[in-house]
Symmetry: C2
Amino acid sequence: MKTTITDVAKYAKVSMKTVSRVLNNEPNVAKTTRDRVLQAAKELRYSPNLAAKGLASSKSYLIALLYDNPSPNYIANIQKGAIKACRDNNYYLVIEPLSMVKANAGDEVEKLLERLPVDGVILTPPLCDDRDILRILRKLKIPYVPVAPTIEVNGVSSVKMDDVQASYEMTDYMIRNGHKKIGFIKGHSEHSASALRFEGYKLAMKKANLKVNESFIAEGDFSFRSGVEAAEYLLGLKESPTAIFASNDDMAAGVVSVASRLGMEVPNKLSVGGFDDTPLAQILFPQLTTVKQPIYEMGHMAADLLINPPSKDDELSSYHFEHKLIIRESTNTQNTLDN
Amino acid sequence: MKTTITDVAKYAKVSMKTVSRVLNNEPNVAKTTRDRVLQAAKELRYSPNLAAKGLASSKSYLIALLYDNPSPNYIANIQKGAIKACRDNNYYLVIEPLSMVKANAGDEVEKLLERLPVDGVILTPPLCDDRDILRILRKLKIPYVPVAPTIEVNGVSSVKMDDVQASYEMTDYMIRNGHKKIGFIKGHSEHSASALRFEGYKLAMKKANLKVNESFIAEGDFSFRSGVEAAEYLLGLKESPTAIFASNDDMAAGVVSVASRLGMEVPNKLSVGGFDDTPLAQILFPQLTTVKQPIYEMGHMAADLLINPPSKDDELSSYHFEHKLIIRESTNTQNTLDN
DNA sequence: AGATTTATTGACAGCGCTGTCATTTCTATC
DNA sequence: GATAGAAATGACAGCGCTGTCAATAAATCT
């Protein structure tokens, strides 16, 4: 038989309500009473029934993680971070992959959340920039935290990293290594990060008084294959870049693979930079210079913001986390003789 | 205001209980009544309150996925499969990563499940072979389905694939390609699959009247790095194998990387086989010959077994799913002249 | 037709907790 | 020491649903 709050109340010789107060850290309980209740709960190995709490307080103690992101690694890290925050607060994480390809993601979300009235929703890219979904969330009055969104919504905190700055740093690093002809492979146009990373690249080029050569900009969609295609194009140019900055690791892996097929040694003949620091980056030969995103941290903060909403006073519109440029083997000083 | 069952009852001019019956597909409701209720529910956009259902029926409509598996890809696929089954049954998936490294995983699980009384638990390797966890689950009387377990428990259905057979097929494929000196890299000793895959390898060798050369067997732990180390050992042998079967893709990637560093062309000088068919397998150059595990299918069935438990009659002890040998570029016919 | 079984429906309590508000006990004040 | 005010505690309803069991309607059998 499962212990209930009534058992604890009897044992501690107080009312149910007092037990409830103690267990929920509500104020106005005498220290001695509090200790007695805590002791009773401990001895009886009491643990609250989530469904009952939920029903009585119209809370669910559930946070939903919505995603439509093909990268298992990204999702795994967001999950880890979010779960940590949930565990520390006796919340639970429900995951719901979505497919934006289907006509209306909004409807799907609506149906989902009408059934499962979660206390908060974490939105990962590209979902966090989907107007339909945001509208539904607002309509259902469900708090949400977008991870790395482009759209800023009034009164909604978000977690992000500085994609522009990170991308700037990578490009700048290549420039400081003597590279002047730097190719760039864009990411999926639906992901807001794509534009930001491109921005950072252009910024660094501009600051260094380097002209952005339009033919050095290739389209990609974050997939390995698109990296291969972009690399084939870039390296097939009669005057090809000496460094290629792919806006994620998968595409960078594509570049490395094309380069090695072409007998173009990385990094001596071609420097390659990636983005994300996926496990792949260390598996590749040579290991990839890349940018480590604070994914775990963002997931953690997103959940935490939903569980412990900041008071209006200290509310920030967005919380920034630090990325890190990770220099490995795929980039090198440009040998000026080669140029 | 959220519609409740009472609203639907009034609208359809029946009792709450009848609505409940209709919505839960219980028998003994007249067709006309059923239709009327369904219509009412639809018009009112009714959706049940999970917490209330849970409280009243002492069910939670939640399935927990417990894992301690460093492979995001494996987890992502299990999750996808499990979620599909959950969605189709109005269940939800709660994920809980565990760390077996910590002293007693059992306690952690116990605390977790006392708080969150889920209707079922999916256990992935290596958790599914942890005696402590199994004991707790039995004690708490929570149904569970182990994915690819070694331990068989009476009355508990499990989902699996045939690791021995799959491994046999890969080895056999190499043998039929003319290879005689086939190296094998074992997986993490804690994962039961490791032993099974090794078994399949030995079986194939035996069937082909090939002697298993002890020095061709290397220890690994499923990590890329361990694959590198194993490959360095195997390829450093004065008489080294012409093919290496690594018991997962990450280790196979390690082999490929060492081989290319050593200027040993894959597959012409060395065939390499992996296991898992992770995205990595297609990203590598050359693309990896590997075994595709029915991970999604196993996740799906695991959740389904928990949601719709088979009746005692048609209960199977374990459900097997088909793997698939995927032949790509990293394996080749052994050139007998080289031998 | 009347008796008996079976299918269909409804009334109502109660799952375990919290919110509201009433009540009691303490503390500070003059 | 009486009194106002604050702090601590408790009584009780009710969150939205389902289980139980009783009541009624329909079907089947002598």
